[in-house]
Point group: D2
Chain length 255, copies 4
């Protein structure tokens, strides 16, 4: 069995550093690279793509609202869906050019922050992001949350998709992530996270906070790298997957 491990990267910006990208690029198989809107810039994008290439890590554009002040985590309302589409396409294209310059190739798109949350809540935004991907390159994978609006949008648009499971988060009965505000919603224990990932893959189902079983296929596991503890968790998840006999490989045959 084959699985992908993805992480957000390239979130440094100008003189500011964030995360330990070199460490994460030795752990994951896919990197979601910030496109200069919530984080990153052409230099950070290039360096991230270059090191990903050297590590055989597939790369994706990680578009967001144009919100550097809020790291793309704020909800910005008022743009039409056509405007959202263009905003996302702009970022994908910028990332493609930088990837090409670094000898690499963008093979997926994952929406960041509040945009990433909203595509699992609202059909119109899920479709807007999907249409942007399709318009730029219909061969790009759309990273989606299984059972939610983003997966339905990718299906409807005929886009290749990768269904994602979050290693460090619990799930509600509707397939959504439990709010971070609820105690226990974020898993801080690396071994526990690794076990949850294995259980979900073996079960072919997510077990929710209420014990409900949601049958899903999972193509990629999301891990984080913003703290040393997060890097340790990513490493633990990778080790557990390998120990259980799985092959870690990008969902897209990128590199």
């Amino acid at each position: 069995m084959r699985i992908d491990l993805n992480s957000d990267m390239g979130e440094s910006y100008a003189a500011w550093r964030m995360g330990d990208d070199p460490a994460m690029l030795s752990i994951v198989t896919s990197a979601n690279i910030a496109c200069g809107f919530h984080a990153g810039d052409w230099n950070v994008m290039h360096e991230t793509a270059r090191v990903a290439r050297a590590n055989g890590v597939a790369i994706g554009a990680h578009p967001s609202f144009n919100d550097r002040d809020g790291f793309g985590r704020r909800v910005i309302r008022g743009d039409s869906m056509a405007e959202i589409e263009r905003m996302v396409a702009y970022q994908i294209g910028a990332m493609q050019a930088i990837a090409t310059m670094a000898g690499h190739r963008v093979t997926h798109v994952k929406a960041h922050g509040s945009l990433g949350n909203l595509i699992n809540e609202e059909d119109d935004l899920a479709l807007a992001v999907g249409r942007a991907i399709k318009a730029v390159d219909p061969g790009l994978f759309y990273i989606v949350m299984p059972g939610r609006n983003s997966e339905r949008a990718a299906d409807k648009l005929g886009l290749p998709l990768a269904r994602e499971f979050f290693a460090d988060r619990t799930y509600d009965d509707d397939g959504q992530l439990t709010s971070r505000k609820r105690p226990g919603a974020v898993i801080h224990d690396a071994a526990g996270a690794a076990r949850r990932v294995l259980d979900t893959l073996n079960d072919r189902a997510i077990t929710t906070v209420n014990g409900r079983r949601i049958p899903v296929g999972i193509d990629t596991i999301c891990v984080h790298g913003d703290t040393p503890a997060a890097v340790d968790m990513a490493r633990a998840v990778r080790k557990a997957l390998e120990a259980s006999g799985m092959t870690l490989k990008p969902f897209a045959a990128a590199v």
Copy 2:
């Protein structure tokens, strides 16, 4: 004989309007579209590309320093040449994606403002812009000033190029534009500009302010559209070219 007529466009931004793009898109054969750095945004870029497509006008990326405050006219020093390359590649890629979304295709690149000036003064910047173009797509035309650093850079890199003549500017003996500060450096008379363009094309040479003749091939004529008078001049130049039997066509077989 065939010639191209180019103009800078897509310089509106957000709630602000600039220039009469619809008028210009009915006159020129190539449009240089601002990429969101000195002007423009994903919406303006899309609309400009869409109308260009509808008018059979070829489009190019019009990258600049990241300088919205200064409309790309300020000189910004301190970036390495590698950083300039990535900055330009980012803009080209963004424009490509938006063009694709609008059913069009980028076929050339023209540097804007102070970046556009500096590539005719400094080899390293001319090469940096050229390398960015080549890295993203070696089939893109580099718009250059004949006899200057940009043309040499394009030649050295083996890029297709389009040599440009400015309809409304006089030239110094070194092939550079006469400084705008010198009286007479900017031509305001539409008929005079049209005549100058024809003379230069027929002569296969630029005649400088001192009467020197610089033999050059010209592939594209630059006209402006920022004022009603500029639009009138563009129209006059087009009419004069047609009246003299020339075919107006993009230098790139784009549309």
Copy 3:
């Protein structure tokens, strides 16, 4: 009887122009100057303050969300109230310094765009803006909508306030502006707008779309200047006020 006429100004930015500020500064008695967040920059702010000074027009800071792409009209959620306070204080301070440099003095604050709407809907935002004003200078007038959250916030904080009436908008029974989407919500007829203003002032009450009478004191009338028709309406409102014997004067004794 004395009344103030206010208008949003200084909404040009960098190379882009918007509105006819010189015309408006010959009509109104108070100008709300954009602070560089949704529009304006230090140069536009300075020029607007300078011409206001020369015309005896009082000036206010016109803070907004940090949203140039959306002209401050988009709703941005995710900042804490303390963050909103600081964001507003930053803009007021910047405007004060530029005003001082131009020989003028900020005497009021009016929130712009979606921030301006939200302070009439949500107590916490109305208070956040009020606390920002109070922290910077408790003598600054807070422009409020009579009967709504902003007025209550100003009262609670003990801030001087100016109750505003919109010359070109109709009102709902709850004292809110009728949504622009409802037919007739925006008044385009200058004479009609002038009459409405006089009726409201004489009546000491707003008459709503349903004919309900909301008793209010009005300190300032808002007019717009973004189109030639808007400038004409502003002029008509001023003339009608003068003809009815009212004195046009800033609510703050600024100049």
Copy 4:
């Protein structure tokens, strides 16, 4: 004898952290706070001012070119001196408002990065920054390099000034900092730096790289806090000054 110790602070931005401000605020007597142009934002500015207040540290505005991409280190040419003045005034005003909100008060201004370098090379820029300070508040201290353009500008404008000595840099015979590119131009040894500071203060003269003695009065010593080693050096300098019997106190009676 009394001396001030200053450091640049508040250079975090949005989600990004930089420097160890709490440590530095327990060492220095004056903090130069980034105003949101090269670094910082209203939240970082407020937190820095608040902690400075709590530590009895005086604060200054630390304005720069509007250059977040380049951390204010790039040279940006093309603005008129009047535009530079307004740009600096805007930042000072924003900082004043945030300081007031945090219960503190701005008492000095120090130009950052390339702007800080240029005011020691070019009279017109030194005067533009000085005029901005004077226009906003003629009681603000202008931090200057002794013997250079900035000191002359402050003198000419009648501004209070504080002459600065860099603890970790060597000086050329013209009173300028030796270029960072020259080997040995940056001092990495904390004890050496502390000794240099004492020697300069006792001598009432800077000793240049060529052994020349430039007689100067020094009001403030600049130390850095961007690395743990820099914090250590700042601490060493403070200890050396105290051990030699000097009183560490802000040059402005701020707190």
